[in-house]
Amino acid sequence: MASSLGQRTRHLAFLPYAVFLFIFLIWPGLYVFRQALNQSAGERNPMIEAVTGQYRSSFIFSLQLSFISSAIGLVIGSAVAIAIMQLADVRGLRNILVGYSSVAANMGGIPLAFAFLAAFGMQGLATRLLKEINIDIIGWGFKISDFWGIVLVYLYFQIPLMTLVLVPALDGLRRTWAEAAQSLGATVSQYWRFIALPILTPAILGGFLLLVANAFAAYATAYALSSGGSKLVPVQIRFFLQGETITGKSNLGYALAAWMVIITAMLVAGFQVMTRRAERWRQ
């Protein structure tokens, strides 16, 4: 039996997959770094230029957007997950909320930008309805293509993503732990502070990192909201790829991309570590 698929063929079988990944993922990734580290004479190192020069503010903008939308998404998404647990006896509610969360967490790109333009744009339906009850968001200076506008749109996928991360973690809290704590005289708040929260912390932190990575890589939504002109790092990279713009700074686009890979890699690695820790408590 085993001889029919010998040692050599066994390794050959993995060749197509390995070659494919190398050509279409690993090599392009390495190419970005090679170009980013390629310093021509009389130029500053592109990797340094990318985070100190005029693009520094792009990174700050992108990171602020990611962290703030993730922090708000974490709070609201967790609140939804806890509400699902509290209302566990309401038939169908959990299925609807978790089901819709899995749909909304996947949403993004151009259609989502359209939905928010129709709702919270200058002539948006929600904008109008809010004005009816004397909440004039346009008067406050709210603009859907500005920082807080993009945060609002990102929440549409950040909140459900956090809910999806936290619901299984809350399921993993065993009833016996609460009962044990109670029989030993712990109050509800003591149970949460000293037992539930420490157990949930890796899942929550991991979820947060996942949300940040998710928002950091997003591009299409902000692009469509601002008709192409946004300070986001990916939008800046686009100019380099299409224009070969400023002479003497040809490798700056690659350096911006390389920094994106570095930041995303750190976030994903952190997520993996946290997930592994969170799983310790499941059987």
Binding site: L25, L87, N106, G109, A115, A126, A213, Y223, L241, A257
Partner: protein, 262 residues
């Protein structure tokens, strides 16, 4: 406890409103021919029409981008399956080490954001193999990579639920070749995973904007961005259709995912 339930309902209500309102607003904008300013309680149900959608359907730009997106979706799903199913089946049978290595490699696309991937891809192949950049089907390998973390997971679940060794031994001892075993024994047994992986690949292709936009390929999301300025109602109508189609794909893969795990 009463208060806790009240707060829970409040959270659910507000978030549900946040989820639903943008969808309603988008639908209304696309299908009702009344500007928001003139909207009042008296005319909420007036002047609804599906004409904008059908106007888009007749545009040649829409047709060519819809055809392209559909072809890319099918090609991406096929390449994904051809690449993953045999490799992963053999890894399951023969080499747990390979299985872990493949699992690790399948999370790599998370690390390289689409924008970095396409910049590296364009730089690599602009000189060496320009056909990959000129042809629209050059997108297919990049989409396979983008969908990999999700497609790998579903096929992994499907294979893990099988008694693969017994199946393959039975098939091989009855004289079937490896290819026959793969097509007639393994594939039918993980058909739910194969369908799920295909739906996930379709969802990725129908929603992907970054890569197609940087390589200037007119897929459906690019058509949306382009039609937004020229014919906003029609563009929004097509956007709704895209949301509905991907929602169906996600729902189907959720349902089938449960079948696999059960």
């Amino acid at each position: 406890m009463r208060l806790g339930r009240f707060i829970a309902w409040l959270v659910v209500g507000v978030v549900a409103l946040f989820y639903v309102v943008p969808m309603i607003a988008m639908t209304r904008f696309a299908f009702q021919r009344i500007p928001v300013i003139k909207l009042s309680l008296g005319n909420v149900f007036d002047k609804w029409t599906v004409a904008p959608l059908f106007e888009s359907f007749t545009e040649s730009e829409f047709r060519s981008s819809a055809t392209l997106s559909l072809m890319l979706a099918v090609a991406t799903a096929l390449l994904t399956l051809v690449l993953l199913v045999p490799t992963m089946a053999i890894a399951h049978l023969r080499s747990p080490r390979m299985r872990r290595l493949i699992e690790l490699s399948a999370t790599l696309p998370f690390v390289v954001p689409a924008i970095a991937l396409v910049v590296g891809f364009a730089g690599t192949f602009r000189e060496t193999l320009p056909i990959l950049i000129r042809s629209s089907f050059g997108l297919v390998p990049l989409y396979v990579v983008t969908a990999l973390p999700f497609t790998h997971r579903t096929i992994e679940n499907g294979l893990a639920a099988l008694d693969l060794r017994t199946l393959v031994n039975a098939s091989r001892s009855l004289g079937a070749s490896w290819t026959r075993t793969m097509i007639f024994v393994i594939a039918p047994n993980i058909r739910a995973s194969i369908a799920t992986a295909s739906f996930l690949a379709f969802t990725v292709v129908l929603g992907e904007f970054t890569i197609a936009s940087l390589l200037l390929k007119n897929t459906l999301p690019l058509y949306l961005a382009y039609a937004q300025g020229r014919n906003p109602q029609g563009a929004f109508a097509v956007g709704i259709v895209l949301i509905i189609v991907s929602t169906i794909f996600v729902a189907l893969s959720n349902r089938l995912g449960k079948v696999v795990r059960a």
